[in-house]
Symmetry: C2
Subunit: 418 residues, 2 copies
């Protein structure tokens, strides 16, 4: 099965919005072994949309459009689809009820232009949109499938997961060649080090493929195996995974789409431990990531964003003399912050971060990018130094990842050295 | 001048990485009135890369490639470029020094495969990459320009801003038709309400264009004017902006690429005010956003992520009886949290957020998505209720935006009603 993804919106063409939609859909289709053969971005113009659907219909079995379904004058996708299929717009009462419910829930009054969103081409099945007022549309013609979804990512994603993917799964026949992928997620080690530690890849991989995908949060290793016998593929991928883990296992925090914060949550909850966090330079990001996890209140007790020195002394009992002697950004203060936040919060573990995120504030001894991370429990209280670059937000993000990884290693008894 | 952007990487094709690079470059080119006529994603294969450069050279004056320049076996872009231009790879000592410096700064030892990154095709000028080991390449042939950059966004972005855009600016002739755009950023009002409040768009816009671009943080209104006489364009855009502001000005927090946290920082610093934050349901996100701003330590004193009830009582002096009577998620507790954090921190303003982010934890009276935001200064202490949907991370993000907007309106004396 071949697929084309058409993203509609001037804002993407001129780069004011990034095209997360094509990636999201590409990943979902790829998991089902559907080839995305083309991804194209066009503007909000009826003619371009008509041309693009026509071109896609010639080469693909599944055409997914996103964008251009909003209530205002610059949204023209629905009219284009109505024209392409020569199918009149008719009022759909289920869609209308959904729109009314959404406005009720937010305590707002529905407007006339939102009511017009309940009209869809007669040829289309509506796709329920629980997060917004624009319905999606599913159209079958011949053996081709056309799907049109709103461009707002949260709305589109829900509709893909809850409607489009389940429906496609029912329709696709079993393929001859199966592809299986597994991602091993590492952090705290550069791509080149990982590559060297793995040694001879030909021996390691046999006929499988391995890709290294670096990002700000670490390097993802993607293993791909393929073959006709689907039952042997998962054995083969496990075998390769085991070999990789033998060599670089301590750097692997999770697999596939897992986030480090979810790994932490599982470890904490499994062990029945509680956590408090003291953040200086990360300014709340570590706590934000932890509390993104549903159920984090089971182990996350509280956090302090002690930006000022005064707040470090007042709330975390950091010794003012230490700040004067070693500086607020020091291994000694990181350790005191971790111990202090643990004590005041009454938790099993305290995690603390202090550093210089830049672009200003560096010194010769402690340049921008210098960070100290402390972690304490009842028995052990340590801190580590890590070094980053010059960019503030990137430094915050990388620091949050290392802090969570230091906590992970602490929980698993893996020393934080290479 | 016409441009094609080629994004290289299997990981984008199968959607494991989103193509932020094309958007970033598209925006930068669009500002210079360079048309991005095509954006294409291909895999890490030499043949595809060669074909795609050839196709692009036929239709565009400027071809920008990103990706495939890493140190490992799956990066083949440099070899493809070497082949396309029939130009040997030679060692560039400036690049080698940069790679060595980067490893020194992180306190790591350089590896052999990183040293190989210092080889580039003889035909290419190296583009300095201060954030990573892969150099970029700039190649002129005939009147066409070819640029190849690494795919890691932070590295690519820096090289676009610091090298590619300045160099292109020197080269482009003045165009006949000028395009001017301005974005007005709103929050706290749905797209359809904004549309209705603006009234007759034909009268408002004359021949200009207006697009509504909704996102999780609000609706962006993009005004576009074009014409031969560039001097009149900025007058025309200002005139339209003024008309829009007269009608919906209270919802507009900024323009173009501005972030609400930067607007807050400017307002706080201009007024010489200090801020402390108490976050429950947002878990540190509001503080994280504020501390993303360089210079935020000038006004941001500290924050408490009081996830547990005990921490609200201990640190913010919230009345335990209030929690029992009204619930931790209530207008009364939001107000007490804001007042409490202001008092304990000794700041001019206290901002507090408490709510139910989901997916569980809702009740009939207070369903998931219920949020209370308090803001207090020396004279006024108020709290507002806002309502969101069912998705945890999206709710946190939307809540952080409303909290910052309530603070903005408080500072500007704009009531938080529609």
């Amino acid at each position: 099965m071949k697929s084309v993804i058409i993203t509609i919106g001037d804002e993407i063409l001129i780069g004011q919005t990034i095209n997360t939609n094509a990636a999201f859909i590409g990943e979902k289709l790829s998991v089902l072994s559907i080839d995305v053969i083309r991804t194209v971005v066009i503007g909000d113009e009826q003619e371009s949309i008509l041309n693009e659907i026509e071109a896609a219909e010639k080469i693909a079995d599944l055409i997914i459009l996103t964008g251009g379904l909003g209530p205002t004058h610059d949204d023209v996708t629905k009219a284009a689809i109505s024209k392409y299929f020569d199918s009149e717009l008719v009022l759909n009462s289920t869609v209308l009820t959904n729109i009314q419910d959404l406005f009720d829930k937010r305590g707002r009054k529905i407007t006339k232009i939102n009511e017009q969103q309940a009209y869809i081409p007669e040829v289309a099945l509506p796709i329920h949109n629980p997060r917004g007022t624009a319905p999606g549309m599913w159209i079958n013609r011949g053996n081709k499938i056309f799907v049109s979804l709103p461009g707002v990512p949260a709305e589109m994603r829900g509709m893909i997961d809850e409607y489009v993917i389940p429906k496609i799964k029912e329709l696709i026949p079993n393929s001859n060649i199966n592809v299986l992928r597994k991602n091993l997620l590492t952090t705290g080690i550069p791509e080149s080090y990982l590559f060297e530690k793995l040694g001879d890849l030909t021996e390691l991989l046999d006929s499988a493929k391995l890709a290294f995908l670096p990002s700000k949060y670490g390097v993802k290793m993607r293993i791909t195996v393929s073959g006709a016998d689907s039952s042997s593929l998962s054995d083969k991928i496990s075998e390769i995974e085991q070999k990789i883990r033998t060599r670089v296992g301590r750097f692997i925090y999770g697999k596939d789409g897992e986030l480090l914060e979810n790994v932490i949550a599982r470890l904490m909850i499994d062990r029945g431990l509680t956590l408090a966090v003291a953040e200086s330079c990360t300014g709340g990001l570590v706590s934000h990531r932890i509390t993104n996890v549903n159920g984090s209140s089971q182990f996350f007790e509280r956090a302090f964003v002690t930006y000022s020195n005064g707040s470090k002394v007042e709330h975390l009992s950091v010794d003012e003399n230490y700040i004067n002697k070693y500086g607020a950004v020091s291994i000694e203060v990181a350790r005191q912050m971790a111990e202090g936040v643990r004590a005041v919060s009454g938790t099993d573990i305290g995690l603390a971060i202090t550093g210089i995120m830049g672009p200003t504030g560096g010194t010769e001894n402690k340049p921008v990018g210098t960070v100290f991370i402390g972690v304490c429990d009842e028995k052990v209280c340590t801190a580590k130094e890590v070094k980053f670059g010059d960019e503030r937000v990137l430094n915050k993000e990388r620091t949050s990842q290392v802090a969570l990884d230091i906590l992970r290693r602490h929980l698993l008894g893996i020393p934080y050295d290479e």
